[in-house]
Amino acid sequence: MLDFSLTPEQESLQDLARKFARTEMAPRAAACDKEGRFPEEIYRKAWELGLMNLNVPSEYGGSGLSVLDQCLIVEELAYACGGMTTSIIANCLALEPILLGATPEQKRRWLAPFCAEYHLASFCLTEPGGGSDAAGLQTRATRDGDDYVLRGEKCFITNGPHASLFTVFATTDPSLRAKGIVAFVVPGDAPGIVRGKDEDKMGHRASSTGTIRFEDVRVPAAQRLGGEGEGFSIAMRTLDQTRTPIGALATGIAQAALDHAARYSLERKSFGKPISEHQAIQIKLANMAQMVSAARLLTWKAAWTIDRGERGTLDSSIAKCVASDSALRVADDAIQIFGGYGYMKEYPVEKLLRDAKLTQIYEGANEIQRIVTARELLRRYA
């Protein structure tokens, strides 16, 4: 039977995330956004409460939450600040390749420290020459005895400037495209890693994003995840797992925009009455509520599919795409309802638009999500 009610356990996870979001994140969100500050003290607290590494199984010290439970938490966090949430959940993305591709011994070695102590990890796939064309990546992995030597550059790496561990995708032979890709675990202090500057971004300004250059970084073969040529599959399966929480992140931003706009519409008067009494505003609010609901339900559906053990590529692509497009439109409508005030940085809604924009781009641009959706869809008709 279909059931949308949450269990008491899920409600208590949601309560924890909501409390943390509203007491720790929200009060600092505007200042961190303005200053482009990476509030590591907040991320440490999130770690202490167990709100990081949500996907790491309990045998390695994590919570091993289902994707649906992760989504409930991520939506609450993102309601307070999308950028901080991106940095908090970046470990899930970076550690997922280890969960999917590592041997039990590698898992113990690389996952346990993240649950025992506060550490950040970064997922290094995107390169300056291409993000969506992941199979065409150029970072080289050259075998040298028992080691590989990594050479190349990764960009837009979340938490890159602060990470103590990288999961890196490189190729033994670019002409092999996907078949040449290998995944590695690389400690942040490996000689030859050069961290670029922290990027100055439009939104998600409490998150840190940077370039990581690998200048002949020597990596023992024991730090390879899976076999040569399995890296691309690990990367894609990772994104299948982490795409859905991005839908939840977008939903949180959208819900915040709707709440701000609805409350404001009851206070703000024009033509002698609250603007909530004008149908032009009511219709906008109704459209926003529809989009928020659709975003959340599609996200839950995708999470449910994955938690049943299915790969969920189609559902998660649809969810991520609809939720992020919705977040942008709902944030845009919220600004419109606030009018001139909405355009001012003193009010909270313009930040939501800037933060929402990234959700259409990262973890698979929405154009890629649509290609994936169409491919999965057409397979059913062929």
Partner: protein, 264 residues
């Protein structure tokens, strides 16, 4: 130390409250109950004492209908070792004397060396239960307590009480019942893995039939609420239009004095 913490489920602060159909009480149907206010301070204090006296245990205890379960699990997630749900019907939970008798009956055999509670409940703020439990158990009771520490001999407590006139300092032999002031300590937040563990923790249950049999006629509430009225909706704010700050201040003072009559 065997520390017991008495907890009451109270409606979440953001709840939309309605009056019940019979007009006597709040309609608590569908309301979310939480561990809140003074009770959070009591749990925090119990955990601090436990941490300062290794070997101590903390047991959370709550009287009432099934809604007690959630706050007992919340207490376990915060670090309490065990929990007891003293089952009781809603009508019994409305009478603080019945609550106190039922709690005392459940606690008595447990060998409590210290019983902590919020100085009053986070919802009705009656503040009767801790003292009534102490009376029933025949042990001393203090309310409005803050800055609580175990005495050097392990058989007494030292604490402060905030009064209108100033701060009192006390030493009291164990066992005793202490009603704690809110938020003088900074209650911790439960960690996610502990929340997950708390869902699986066993909660001891004292059946109402058992309590009612032990209490006999004393299990029946002697008080019954007559009527409940929500506060009248607040009138709208008055906006003052002004040209200069001095002008605004002058108008504001006049409105406070002549219209709101806040001061003469």
């Amino acid at each position: 130390m065997e520390i017991f913490v008495l907890l009451k489920p109270v409606p979440e602060g953001e709840s939309r409250l309605r009056v019940s159909a019979d007009g006597r009480r709040l309609d608590l149907d569908g309301v979310k109950f939480v561990l809140a206010g003074y009770d959070e301070s009591a749990v925090e204090q119990a955990l601090l004492l436990k941490e300062s006296a290794p070997g101590s245990t903390v047991r959370a205890v709550s009287f009432g209908p099934a809604r007690c379960e959630e706050i007992l699990r919340a207490a376990i997630a915060l670090g309490c070792d065990a929990a007891t749900w003293v089952e009781g019907p809603s009508e019994a939970a409305e009478d603080p004397m019945v609550v106190a008798r039922a709690l005392a009956t459940a606690i008595a055999p447990g060998g409590a060396s210290l019983i902590l509670a919020g100085k009053q409940a986070g919802d009705d703020e009656e503040g009767l239960v801790p003292a009534a439990v102490a009376e029933r158990l025949g042990v001393p009771s203090f309310g409005h307590v803050l800055d609580l520490r175990a005495g050097p001999d392990g058989a007494s407590l030292r604490f402060a009480r905030a009064t209108e006139a100033g701060t009192e300092r006390w030493e009291c032999p164990l066992p005793c019942v202490i009603g704690l002031q809110q938020a003088w300590n900074d209650p911790r937040t439960a960690k996610l893995p502990n929340i997950l563990k708390s869902r699986k923790a066993a909660i001891a249950k004292v059946a109402w039939t058992e309590t009612a049999a032990a209490l006999g006629a004393e299990s029946r509430p002697t008080n019954r609420p007559e009527a409940f009225a929500l506060p009248p909706p607040r009138a709208g704010a008055k906006m003052i239009e002004f040209k200069t700050p001095d002008d605004a201040a002058e108008q504001l003072v006049r409105a406070l004095r002549e219209e709101a009559k806040v001061f003469p």
